[in-house]
Symmetry: C2
Amino acid sequence: MTFSQRLAQAARMLEARLARILDEAAAGGAPPRLVAAMRHAALGGEAKRLRPFLVLECAALFGVAAEAALPAAAALECVHCYSLVHDDLPAMDNDDLRRGKPTVHKAFDEWTAILAGDALLTMAFALLAAPQTHADPALRVELAAGLAAAAGAGGMLGGQCLDLEADKLGVPQRPSEAHVKRLQAMKTGVLIRFACEAGGILGRAAPEQRRALIVYGERLGAAFQIADDLLDTHGDAAVMGKAARKDRGKATLVSVLGAQAAKARLATLEGEARAALDSFGERADILQEAARFVVTRQM
Amino acid sequence: MTFSQRLAQAARMLEARLARILDEAAAGGAPPRLVAAMRHAALGGEAKRLRPFLVLECAALFGVAAEAALPAAAALECVHCYSLVHDDLPAMDNDDLRRGKPTVHKAFDEWTAILAGDALLTMAFALLAAPQTHADPALRVELAAGLAAAAGAGGMLGGQCLDLEADKLGVPQRPSEAHVKRLQAMKTGVLIRFACEAGGILGRAAPEQRRALIVYGERLGAAFQIADDLLDTHGDAAVMGKAARKDRGKATLVSVLGAQAAKARLATLEGEARAALDSFGERADILQEAARFVVTRQM
């Protein structure tokens, strides 16, 4: 199976699992409108499902079957989807298009979008806490703690705050390279890093293996953001499924360093990500290819 | 110590703990603006801290010290505070005043309010997952699962969705008593019920004791909402610390049944809440008083 086929297969499995989880939410008494908005946010479209793919593949390094890693993978994807729903709101990035579909507040309305995002975030923790995720409660609570740290004020939400401060308030006036790196590490890096770590947690990785996955995830996350920024600068909306050049006013490593230096940094990050996998040998071939894929095209 | 003193003492303890938790978030790299908005949402003002009070007092039935129950109590209060921040947004209830202070989107702006709410929700799960909450990970994960269910699409968020559907979309056109009861049970009842259950979880209550706390919490939650609606119909903004009669267009048990029948229902609920505590004897005196307090004045 080629890398792209494997990625697509993971996306299909994830999509099916998310659909089932949302069916269960509806059966459990969640209002139809709210579930419909959650479905709109979480299902279909052109999502590559990078984060759940990384959970599955990193868990697979330790012999964990995809089926067993799927609930945790779905939880991470719920957090990613919620963050997109809220980021797209008029008060935030004000986007009309996402993954080739109208954003949730366009397809429904703002209050429904806010609630659907909240509900996806809450569902992520319901998933991690449920026995289906793993038989060992200590492992489940470790996943929940890790996700809360990655997604919280010191992680993804903190990065989003720094990004919007720069965009809306012009703070700081001239973002330094260090500031942009920190912002991006928080905004997108930490959740991608945690996706890799979560696979290790599910596989009961030894400490040094877990550290290797964290390094891999961190470099991959940083590379992902630079590739995204390069695409945003040069891409077009049809390829991306969202508005291009929407980040024009935002500080990125492309705007701070220039495209050439950003591309060089991307190559360095790819090398570091790959090197982190050395100890896993050819078991990690698919993750090696993922590093290549992230730097060469937008996922 | 009188009931009011005990309630005030719990509020002070909770406030101090929340302040410390937010200091730790700031020290952990959360951006100052985000932490300031979280502080605005979670600290000060005129909050009675009913939910954490219930966690502490229900845990105390089983000999759990307040200090030991405080992290879980703080987690529930974070969820309550986040729900207020998002409910107050222009796209939702559009309120300018909360607990005698400007709402978060008034004191800051909408995007900051959305992120601060998201961050408080995420922090609630970080708190529950942390070893400080309880030494036993199985117990922590049970608390996290319970909170996610209570706060999620089948609970608080579902109730908020039904409420806004009625308010903004006029669906259903004539809400039945059953519809309003379901809406209110979800919107406010489930979290209050879970506050009581969480105390029982912390105290490793026997199944029948836990059921008793759930019945108590459920009746208390329903009574709380009716008392709130009566106060909203007849109260004034100075007493409430928020705009009065803001629920004029919303279906409540007061609007559906009339004030007299709503008051009769309140008395029934108080009796049922008190009866549920019978097996605890005088150990539950303070919770008996809490039932009285909830029906006689707005907390």
